[in-house]
């Protein structure tokens, strides 16, 4: 199977490469940038790329949720926190001194190399065929039947998180 560049498949493949690049570039910026806001921007870029990957994995719903939650909510919240925490001056992030930098590179490099190697080496048991591509209806059905308990629990967790963060963030300010 050799799709040429000018077919739908070919273009899709090309786009996929682009998304891969965006994802990894975003990850690099997010970890290595010395400027915190740029790091968040890199994170947003990375998430956008990941959302694209999800789209290629036949789950547009999750892809859009990824954009909505990660890019639209989490990144924005992080930027907001950065603004709150260092509104006065642009703070350069100090790198940890000594061996931690190189060691970190080494350790995480080995880790990802091992993981990737494992993934590539393993003979994955391919499922015979999928009943259908995880459509929205089936997803909803599963959420409200099989996983309804976890769904509720997650809601509780979210609720508690919201209340907790409100309490934490408001602790500093007292009613006038």
């Amino acid at each position: 199977m050799e799709p040429s560049l000018f077919t739908v498949e070919g273009l899709a493949g090309l786009l996929f490469l682009g998304l891969l690049g965006v994802t990894l570039a975003g990850a690099v910026i997010a970890t290595c940038s010395t400027n915190l806001i740029r790091a968040v921007a890199g994170l947003a870029l990375c998430f956008l790329g990941v959302a694209g990957l999800y789209y290629y994995l036949n789950s547009p719903f999750v892809a859009l949720m990824q954009i909505l939650i990660y890019v639209g909510a989490i990144c924005v919240t992080i930027i907001f926190a950065v603004m709150l925490a260092e509104s006065s001056e642009l703070k350069r992030l100090r790198q940890r001194n000594g061996l931690i930098g190189p060691l970190g590179i080494l350790a995480s490099g080995i880790l990802s190399w091992a993981l990737a190697g494992m993934a590539l080496k393993t003979e994955w048991y391919k499922s015979a065929c999928q009943a259908n591509d995880g459509s929205l209806a089936r997803l909803g059905e599963a959420l409200l039947t099989t996983y309804s308990m976890s769904f509720e629990l997650i809601s509780v967790v979210l609720f508690v998180a919201i209340v907790g963060s409100l309490v934490l963030a408001r602790a500093g300010r007292s009613k006038a």
């Binding site: 509104s87 006065s88 500093g172 300010r173 007292s174 009613k175 006038a176």
Partner: protein
């Protein structure tokens, strides 16, 4: 109002509002120490349009200073003309014919309406509403046409003279003024429906920027600012001058002290000024508009004279010190907004930025009048 008190540990930063900023109506700079959007401290920095009026007064003859008065507060130039001619007439003992006084009052009150209309528009513009400004300008243009037909200028009038006024009105003026008043009476309900009763505006003004009676006294605030804080002080009633004792009008006073009260005072003053103009037009006597005995060259006797008038912004006083020559020895212009603005720093502490700007707008600032 500030819902939360500022914690000491929070980081503050300095925001420079101006000297060129749309909300300051000219070239005022306010150094704001902010904690987020809360104002911790505010310090107005003046002098960006200091035009040396008092110095010029000492370099010119008494008559030659007239054009300056109109340029101090270009929105209510005639009241400033009035203050200056009154003090010189007091010093030199010049009698003014009655018709001239009536003309002075009529034009001054028309000018006051135009000033309040412009303030109304600019204030709503500060609050983000555009169209009321243009409606107000539309009405204001009518006044400017009337005044231009009498004085020859649109804005920086130099109409009064020691001993009278420069020109008698023409035959169309009275009818034009009455027609305008009729028109404005019909427009006022529209302004109230569009702006005053608008829920957004009410939320922005009610209980915002309270100024207490005591604060007005300590800072010497006068005019609508004081009247919005429950102080019944109007120079026209308090220290009657010109023909105001002969006219019937009310002094609108609101006790809330918030921006809404100041807004309402000015809106009510427009109505009162219309009343004054109507009465003065009815009573307008015939006669000369210039004192026959007015000397061409003014040389007041040695001494120290003061006269205050009520302008659209408050009590404007002129102190002249004469050494008997044809130039003033010392000319002090007591501008109302100078005092009104001086309380801004204290009043806006702990407020949010948009509320502070609403407060600043409600003070009705004309910066060249503050800086002089």
């Amino acid at each position: 109002m500030s819902a939360f008190a500022q914690t000491q540990t929070n980081e503050t930063f300095v925001l420079n509002l101006g000297p060129q900023h749309p909300a300051t109506h000219g070239v005022l700079r306010v150094k704001l120490v902010m904690d987020g959007e809360y104002i911790v401290d505010a310090e107005p920095v003046l002098g960006y349009i200091h035009r040396m009026h008092e110095k010029m007064g000492e370099n010119r003859t008494w008559a030659q200073f007239m054009p300056n008065t109109g340029r101090m507060d270009y929105l209510h130039a005639l009241a400033y003309n009035h203050g200056y001619v009154s003090v010189v007439e007091r010093a030199a003992g010049i009698e003014v014919p009655e018709r001239a006084e009536y003309l002075r009052v009529i034009t001054t009150e028309l000018n006051r309406i135009s000033s309040h209309l412009l303030w109304f528009g600019a204030f709503v513009l500060d609050l983000g509403g555009f169209s009321p400004l243009l409606y107000a300008f539309d009405d204001r243009e009518q006044i400017l046409d009337l005044l231009e037909s009498v004085t020859g200028s649109r804005l920086t009038y130099c109409y009064f003279r020691f001993g009278g006024v420069y020109n008698d009105i023409d035959e169309n003026f009275a009818a034009g003024a009455r027609a305008f008043i009729k028109r404005l009476r019909e427009r006022m309900p529209m302004y109230h429906a569009l702006v005053t009763k608008n829920i957004i505006l009410m939320k922005r003004l009610q209980e915002i920027g309270p100024i207490s009676e005591e604060m007005c006294r300590k800072y010497g605030a006068t005019g609508p600012v004081a009247r919005g804080s429950g102080i019944n002080f109007d120079v026209r009633k308090h220290e009657p001058y010109s023909i105001y004792p002969e006219l019937r009008f009310d002094v609108p006073v609101y006790t809330e002290g918030d921006s809404m009260a100041r807004y309402m005072v000015r809106m009510d003053e427009i109505e009162q000024s219309m009343r004054i103009v109507e009465q003065a037009l009815d009573k307008l006597p015939e006669g000369p508009v210039m004192a026959a005995k007015a000397p061409k060259i003014i040389k007041p006797a040695k001494g120290d004279y003061y006269h205050a008038v009520e302008t659209a912004r408050g009590s404007f006083g002129v102190r002249v010190v004469s050494d008997g020559s044809n130039t003033p020895y010392r000319l002090k212009l007591r501008s109302p907004t100078f005092s009104n603005l001086s309380l801004f720093g204290e009043a806006c502490r702990g407020m949010l930025l948009p509320d502070a700007l609403a407060l600043m707008g409600s003070l009705d600032l004309v910066i060249p009048e503050i800086d002089r």
